[in-house]
């Protein structure tokens, strides 16, 4: 039962999309799993062309497309035939950043404030002069 819950089968009951994905998965080839646990499937026969690659998100309740990391994006969108695992080798080690999902609309913490905005914790001081300090008198 726990395993069923883990794999999201219970979520299939309210979520039709997930159910459809699960049905789609039958007989498909699992091409790879990224570090977030998203599973990438491919099925060449018996599906409509253009719908032969898809992802099953690791997050079963709140999933969205920005959870796909950059290296898998290309494969998933037919930009390249290299799988994400292959492209991961090309990722620059010194300056390559980790993938982060887009949290827009997920709360106040993720709203962007410009450098001068009062809510920006690192708000910049635009005063370009140094006032005289009367305390020295």
């Amino acid at each position: 039962m726990a395993e069923l819950k883990e794999e999201g089968y219970l979520r299939c009951l309210p979520d039709g999309n997930l159910l459809q994905t699960k049905i789609h998965n039958i007989g498909a080839r699992l091409v790879g799993v990224d570090k977030f646990g998203n599973k990438y499937y491919e099925k060449l026969e018996g599906v409509q062309y253009g719908r032969h690659r898809w992802v099953e998100y690791a997050e079963k309740s709140r999933y969205n497309a920005s959870q796909v990391p950059a290296e898998w994006h290309g494969w998933l969108h037919f930009i390249t035939d290299h799988t994400g695992d292959e492209l991961l080798l090309l990722k620059p080690k010194r300056y390559g950043l980790d993938h982060k999902q887009n949290f827009s609309g997920e709360g106040d913490a993720f709203i962007y404030h410009s450098k001068g905005h009062a809510l920006n914790p690192g708000q910049r001081d635009w005063t370009r002069y140094q006032p005289w300090q009367p305390t020295k008198a």
């Binding site: 370009r128 002069y129 140094q130 300090q133």
Partner: protein
């Protein structure tokens, strides 16, 4: 038919000979690679005599260059690209091209420096000359046919450019000169799109020239402009060209800082990014900056400057061309004082509380307090002092305000207690700064132009170099950067000259255009009137003042002085400050604060928390010269205007507006609400001040003045400016100036 064949046979060899003997064809074939140029026929067609000039579109001289013919007989005619142009004898080919409206690319040539001719960028073709000619060093000869647009000239420029770029690093993106670089511009205009250089570029050790000039010597193209500037204009022979060939570099050989007061100008004349401004390094790109054409107020010369700002910040100050005042140079103090505008600023009105501490208050409260106190004291106990950076408008407003309060004790600092404001000739530079170039003998009395007015000093040095003018100097030991005779240290020598006992008197009397310059530092002396009348005696005896030549000058110290004296800011009594109860200091930081009685109420209106704020009871924050529109008159009587480049800081206001507001609160409303109205008021007092960008010479000479009966004291003259880099509240707040005075002034 037969005849025609014969004729063509006869013609052919002749034409072949003509073609092969034409030296230009030969040149084309050897050094030009463009396909159309390898065909001799087309180039021969190009070599045909130039089309008549009537077909050419009229051209205008470059940058409005005007030709002045000192002697009309010496005019010669040359042809630039077939266009005839008349120029005086002795002009170079490059100047002739400029008159004809052709801008020749150049790096080493600079109109104010001697000619070096070592960059080779200005190569042009001259007919009958076997090689391209360096136009900057070639005198134009009558009938010369100069071609600036031919393939030979273009190819020559392209080749020179390739050589120049050979060792020039490709660091334009991180170079401060990027965007205003001659090399960058000219390589875009005249260079090739590729180079053939594949070896390693040379690199050169950077030199330390002090806190103002940053060097990246690898970028240097050895134009030697800086060497010539330092030697000829600045008068400090520190820079030189060391080594030879590809190892050649600009340097001082021994570790030496550039201790000139004009060193910042090498930044402007460097055509590449080898010499850039150290304080400005990596602060902004020049295309982000907004330029505001304004006037410098750090000395009485009124150099024309451009204030480059980004947003609310002054990023740098660069000179503007004005042949009458500063040519195209400015002093280091002018150029680098700008960081003082960002430090120690007064941004809120403040009142000193009972505990002796300042408290920020609103304008309304501060003005109310001041107005109340002003009405409580007797009119003759009110004293106003204008500071050395005040503009004419604010001094007018202050004078009007105090007069309405019933007091006439107002003066501008530095003019002394008993200034001679009646005759303009008594406090102006009557010869005019540009007029100094005609002089052949100078007598400097109690003035050290090098520290008091660096641009005037540069003009004197120029004259000394050009005319071998003699300079006599009376005053304390000083370091003038030209040959001079140190005649003495005090009035004693002056008396000797006046009594014709001194050998320098005959030099002065025999001069065609003698010039006497008296320092404004003498205004503060007790025996000032006697000294001035002694100087006038000398002037009279030596015929310094004639109908066609007025060589008697006063060199003022501060930007506000001339306008203050024009407006009649003369105190009623000499020691009014000692009995004052209400003192209004308008940016006056050099008044003797000990003289102000302890119970006096002091209002300080100014832009910097400098010296006087510590004595103030109320502080009014005002605008600095970069933030306001104001009229300043320079030492030669040339009225000019500053323009606001940046907004005022905090709650500060223009000086005259503060006084106008105060007058309303005090119930004696001044009758002007706008800049136009206050200028109309100035027009009634001193109309010359509103004739902007115009020099108004003094009408009457000093001979009208009654003789003085004061006794002359023999105390020697003193140094007026102790530290060139720190003379007013802005420069004293500046970190760069502090660095300069620590490193560059001689101990």
């Amino acid at each position: 038919m037969g005849l025609g064949l014969l004729a063509s046979k006869a013609m052919r060899p002749a034409s072949r000979i003509f073609n092969s003997q034409n030296p230009r064809n030969f040149l084309f074939r050897t050094i030009v690679s463009k396909p159309e140029l390898q065909k001799p026929e087309t180039s021969a067609a190009q070599a045909q005599p130039d089309p008549p000039p009537v077909d050419l579109p009229p051209r205008t001289p470059v940058a409005g260059a005007r030709v002045h013919f000192p002697n009309p007989d010496d005019a010669i005619e040359v042809f630039v690209d077939g266009y005839p142009v008349k120029i005086p004898k002795g002009m170079t080919v490059l100047q002739a091209c400029e008159v004809a409206g052709v801008d020749i690319p150049r790096f080493c040539y600079h109109s104010r420096l001697s000619i070096a001719g070592n960059c080779r960028m200005c190569l042009v073709e001259v007919e009958k000359s076997p090689k391209p000619v360096a136009s900057c060093a070639m005198p134009a000869l009558p009938g010369m046919k100069i071609k600036t647009d031919t393939p030979v000239a273009k190819k020559a420029r392209e080749g020179v450019m390739e050589f120049l770029l050979m060792n020039h690093p490709l660091d334009c993106p991180i170079c401060d000169q990027g965007g205003e670089c001659d090399l960058q511009d000219q390589s875009m205009a005249f260079g090739s799109d590729r180079g053939r250089f594949t070896e390693m570029k040379r690199s050169v050790v950077d030199k330390n020239l002090g806190p103002l000039v940053k060097t990246v010597m690898t970028r240097c193209i050895q134009c030697t402009r800086c060497v010539r500037f330092a030697t000829e204009v600045a008068g400090v022979q520190d820079l030189g060209m060391l080594g030879r060939g590809s190892g050649e570099e600009i340097g001082t050989y021994v570790e030496k800082l550039m201790t000139s007061e004009l060193s910042g100008n090498v930044i402007d004349i460097c055509p590449v990014g080898a010499l850039t401004s150290k304080p400005f390094a990596f602060k902004a790109r020049n295309w982000e900056l907004k330029g505001t054409e304004s006037i410098d107020v750090t000395d009485a010369v009124g150099s024309n400057i451009r204030i480059d700002s980004r947003g609310p910040e002054v990023m740098r100050i660069v000179p503007r061309l004005n042949e009458d005042i500063n040519e195209e140079w400015i002093s280091d103090k002018t150029r680098f004082c700008y960081d003082g505008l960002k430090r120690q600023r007064l941004n809120d009105p403040m009142i000193r509380g009972a505990d002796g501490r300042f408290k920020v208050v609103s304008w309304r409260d501060a003005l109310a307090v001041v107005a109340e106190v002003a009405h409580q004291v007797k009119p003759e106990e009110i004293v106003g002092v204008a500071g050395k950076l005040s503009d004419a408008e604010s001094m007018m407003a202050l004078k009007d305000f105090l007069n309405r309060m019933g007091s006439n004790n107002i003066w501008c600092e530095g003019t002394g207690m008993n200034p001679n404001a009646d005759l303009r000739s008594g406090y102006l530079m009557n010869t005019s700064i540009a007029g100094l170039e005609k002089a052949d003998v100078f007598l400097l009395v109690g003035t050290q132009p090098r520290v008091e007015a660096a641009m005037v000093n540069a003009r004197i040095r120029k004259t000394v170099r050009a005319n071998q003018a003699k300079v006599g100097y009376i005053g304390p030991e000083t370091d003038l950067n030209y040959d001079h005779q140190h005649l003495g240290t005090g009035p004693q020598t002056l008396l000797e000259i006046a009594e014709r006992r001194h050998p320098f008197y005959s030099t002065l009397a025999n001069a065609k255009h003698p010039v006497i310059i008296v320092g404004a530092g003498l205004f503060e002396r007790e025996d000032k009137d006697t000294i001035f009348s002694t100087v006038e005696t000398i002037a009279e005896n030596a015929k310094v003042v004639r109908p066609d030549w007025n060589g008697l000058n006063v060199l003022l110290l501060n930007a506000a002085q001339a306008a203050a004296l024009d407006l009649g800011l003369v105190p009623e009594s000499g020691n009014s400050i000692e009995s004052a109860k209400f003192v209004y200091l308008m940016g006056a930081d050099d008044v003797n604060l000990d003289k102000i009685p302890g119970d006096a109420f002091v209002v300080y209106q100014g832009h910097h928390g400098d010296r006087s704020v510590y004595r103030a009871n109320v502080i009014f924050p005002a605008a600095a010269f970069s933030e306001k529109e104001g009229i300043y008159e320079n030492t030669e009587g040339y009225a000019q205007q500053t323009f606001p480049a940046v907004p005022t800081v905090g709650d500060a206001r223009d000086d005259w507006k503060i006084i106008r507001a105060l007058s309303e609160v005090a119930g004696i409303k001044l009758p002007y609400d706008s800049l136009g109205a206050i200028r109309a008021r100035i027009r009634t007092v001193a109309p010359n001040l509103v004739h902007l960008d115009e020099r108004e010479p003094a009408t009457f000479t000093a001979s009208l003045k009654p003789a003085s009966s004061q006794k002359i004291t023999l105390t020697p003259f003193e140094n007026v400016v102790e530290n060139f880099y720190m003379t007013d509240s802005i420069t004293r707040a500046s970190k760069i100036m502090a660095q300069c005075s620590a490193l560059l002034t001689k101990k």
